[in-house]
């Protein structure tokens, strides 16, 4: 074990460019690298710059193992109940997703009084409809028209209306989308295959606060007389972010 610790310490110094490795970021005390950290270091020291000043560097480098390790420690300390984790995952895998938002948009298309309510003061009604909750406490609906196409982004992190759309897709959280949708929204739209009508301006909403924006796409031609359920089938997740349009009926 002593030999192992020495090896770990040597590797730690090697990775830190010869400096003594400390985790002064939070604890202020010196602490040799040990356990699996040295293996992470062997791997990452040659692949990318790696920051040993942060506690997260004390977990395995493989992210799947890192999650597992953290869950194990937290469970042993009585801080996390794995059944609660299962419940959270099930909620966002199977129960809360873009169908919620699509049902609201379809109802806005079908019911002018409801549309007015959603555009002016949506929260009381959303609470009634059990479409309120974490990351959807302050909703604002922004409607696409012949003049304006709306697009939603969060440049600073990944803010997104969870109760209505679920957890965001990978691209929404990507550096490319966060960086470019504000500066060159039309190019980004073209990467999603979206072509705007002549004369439509683009309005990009950067979600910098706890207000969550949902785009109300334009109702496609030929959707008259469809039931709300059939209308909801035309409303895609991307159309409620602004990187898509509603589907044409029969398409």
């Amino acid at each position: 074990m002593q030999a192992f610790r020495l090896l770990a310490r040597y590797v730690g110094k090697f990775c830190a460019g010869g400096k003594d490795v400390s985790c002064a970021f939070v604890t202020g005390h010196e602490m040799p690298l040990a356990g699996w950290t040295w293996a992470a270091c062997l791997w990452q020291g040659h692949v990318m710059p790696h920051d040993h000043d942060h506690p997260h560097a004390h977990l395995p480098s493989d992210p799947a193992l890192r999650v597992k390790a953290l869950e194990t420690i937290l469970t042993e300390k009585g801080l996390v109940d794995p059944a609660a984790l299962d419940e959270i995952v099930d909620t966002y895998q199977n129960r809360i997703g873009p169908k919620n938002g699509a049902s609201v948009v379809a109802k806005m298309w079908a019911d002018p009084a409801f549309r007015e309510e959603m555009l002016t003061d949506p929260m009381p009604r959303l609470k009634e409809m059990a479409l309120y909750g974490r990351q959807g406490e302050h909703m604002v609906f922004v409607e696409n028209t012949a003049e304006v196409h709306n697009l939603v982004v969060c440049t600073l992190c990944s803010c997104y209306p969870w109760p209505l759309l679920g957890i965001p897709p990978g691209w929404y959280k990507s550096d490319a989308y966060r960086a470019r949708s504000v500066r060159e929204p039309r190019k980004v739209l073209s990467e999603f295959g979206v072509t705007l009508s002549a004369g439509q301006k683009v309005r990009v909403w950067d979600s910098t606060a706890e207000v969550r924006y949902l785009v109300v796409p334009r109702r496609p031609a030929g959707a008259e007389g469809l039931s709300q359920e059939a209308l909801a089938d035309l409303v895609t997740r991307d159309s409620m972010i602004g990187t898509g349009l509603a589907r044409e009926p029969g398409a």
Partner: protein, 222 residues
Amino acid sequence: MSRIHDMGGRFGTGAVDPDDNATFAKTWHERALALNLACGALGQWNIDASRHARECLSAADYAGFSYYEKWLGGLTDSLVAKGVLTLEELDAGRGDGVSPLTGRALKAENVAPALAAGSPYTRDTDAAMFAVGDRVQVRRPARNVAVSGGHTRLPAYAAGAVGVIELLHGAHVFPDSNAHGLGEAPEPLYAVRFAARALWGNEAEADDEMVLDLWQSYLEPA
């Protein structure tokens, strides 16, 4: 002045990949999300502090980490910073005894009520200084004025720009304060509309616009 997370407008990121479409591309992604929510229930930090923890990842880690690795990094750092876990426990991969916080652990039966309850950020405070249609200038530079290098929700690209108040959101908790344990310090929050060209120059389309949510102390009359 800004940290690496402040990405709006950055060049060099490549194309957006619409096929990167999954909510959870890997099983561990969903577990990482769930761990973050469950640990939030321990009540040791607020949402602004958790964002700041991710922002405090080193630039190399932030750039090299996948999305949920950033969440895990911020979470682990926060757990140690708050004394919930120790570095020794991380190294050993084992918890050293039951935590005094165990009574706060989120139980499966409380998940649905907790998620449905949400956490509203509006507060009752004084009337807003600006009205819809008022012209305002964003203060410059974009930084936390109380804490050097501290959390702020003022993106660098908006600093100094002149826009128009589009919406009043009421008073909201102020992240620049709340992230650092300095109190909620609620302020009026506005959606402010800018001409795209005011932010990006003439490369932007003449009629295109951007709207950002900005707190009152980020703004001055213009």
